[in-house]
Amino acid sequence: MKHRRRWGWIFLSPTLVLFLTLFIIPLGYTFYLSFFDANLFQSSFVGLGNYLSLVESSLFRQIIWNTVKYFLFIVPVSVILPLILALLITEAPRFSSLFRTIFYLPVIIGGLVIASIWKWIFNPTYGLLNWLLSLVGVSKLSWLGNPDFSLISISIVFVVACALSNFTLIYCAAITSLSKELIEAAKLDGAGTFQLVKSIVIPLLKPAVHYIMLTSILTTFNIWAFPKLLTEGGPLHSSASFGYWIYETGFIYQRYGLASAQAVMMLFLTVGFGVVLLRTQYDIT
């Protein structure tokens, strides 16, 4: 037994070394740095100063509020819409491969290209969206330049470009792995499509639903690429996510201690959400 255990550790060691150096040590260092007022030139211990200044700042409250808004715009749509699409795709097996390919395209073409396309779609003067709206008499809107619309616009991009593609495929995989016997039995018992989906498919898809819910919740904190590429978190931080805020503090303002404190706060918040969600999942299943 001891011999086997030793070999187990030997086989695990490369992964453990990588995990330690690339994850645990940086995490520990971030935590350590969060107690310092540190930039490229100097570093001084400030205790909980960074945390206190964060809590007191109005920007922190705005970022939390932005996160809540991202949560409200992204999570429900990301959980429900891909499910509906996946159900439709699996109901049409002849076109299933085609649709899967189409939905997966955004993942292949990459965030920068997607952002460029959406920047054109949102352009107030010659963008597609305003042109379509002008056909029904709606006047020009500044989708990315107006604080009232910037966060919604980024949520739309995220849902269309990321959530629909990834999550639809996850649902498709989950649906195709469902027990065919069970579905056949329900059909033989006279269950209609709606009843089948409601009573058989959705309950069996709960692990997938929970996974997607957890992933999309974490995304609402971490969403970075689209705020960075489309709005730089603006105007007036109206579209800045927690992740973008950390980037801005660390790499634009070069305040590494404060950015570390923000990262630690985000860590606790996301872990908290994750734990609550996982506990709910275990309670249900």
Partner: protein, 429 residues
Amino acid sequence: MRKIIFLLVALVLLVSACKPKVVEKVIYQEPEKIMIEYYAEINGALPSYAPIPGVETEGDWGKYVEKLYEARVPYVDIVPTVAVYEGGGTEQLSVRIAAGRYPTVYEAYGGRIFSYSPMFLDLPKPDAPFAPGTLDACTVNGKLVAYPIGFWPGWSYANVTLMKAAGCAIPTGTQWNTDAATLCAKKLYDYGAYLFQPFALKQSGQHQHWIMMNGGAEMFEAGNCAHTTWGEGTYTERYLDWLKSLLPYYENNPTNFDSEEWYKLFISGKTALGWWDESYFQQSVEDGTLKEVPELKILAMPHLPDVEATRISSIVATAVAVFEPAVKDDERLKEEAIKFALWLTGPEVNYDYHWLGNPSARQDVWKGNIPPEVLKDMQYGDFNQGFNCGKFNEARSIWAEEMQAFWLDQKTARQALDSFVARYDEILR
């Protein structure tokens, strides 16, 4: 006896003269190779200012410099790293420095380079003929932290063809006032084009506007980075209000507009003022957007009617520095790095570094290709004191945020300016 002595002396001299000479063999020992890491942050403007065969991309520039210098100084091994400034170059260098991996020689955009001033070597004052004011603009607390390569005098190119087509009066010189500019903006708008497009999206070169806005030079107390002021704030405030009065005639609200979009508008003949020279229009001609390259003219930003002229507050556009931690334990490396840095400013490598945005800082590079108007109108301003205080990225972000508040009517020009000064002051302390 005397004869004997004379003969002996003559004999000795003869013998010594006939003695085979010991030829001192001069052994040329090639100096030991020395490696200089050359880290350049290029702002994507390379193909325009350096139309050098084989230099198409930023990466080619590094190789070009390496080849040129190594041919000149064979014992120096140049190892170039070229980062695109707007493409993540900022983050790359910060991460490297945080890890203690300093490049030896660092060339970057002026505002950017001074962020690292405390880490730079105090460079010896060169004999090279630098343009007046340029070396002072690279001096921080009495320390010459960088050699200037190019400066930026805050001008615009005006698309005269477009302005004429819209019915605008073309200023005879380089100066014009805001009344004429407003009239032209309206005419251009009716024609389906725009005079100008301010922008307030972060990291988009907003600083140029700040300098253009005729208050930039006074924003800092000369030589004192710890206090900022808004010396001619009233003028700047009024200037901002004038820019805002043109809002109906812009293509887009500045809050979500960046220089890239402005560039597209300019080279496609949709905006009258821009920073890009004739070479950029060639692309529009090739893709059929324009029939021919338009006639361009240099114009200052318009000044308010109650002053004589726009003050041109120049800034150091590009500069080169030596990281002290990279050379501190090696005197020879330090010496060679300084030589290389100085060479980077000179004619051999900068012969075409003359486009409007970046006239060369060295007069021996000028070949009569600096527009005389640029030199003449420099008298209206001076080098921006305080740009070398550093914290440029931070300043630019704060400026963008304050301008967003201004454009969205959440702050008046005065409030935005005061808030900018207070916030910038805080990060300079």
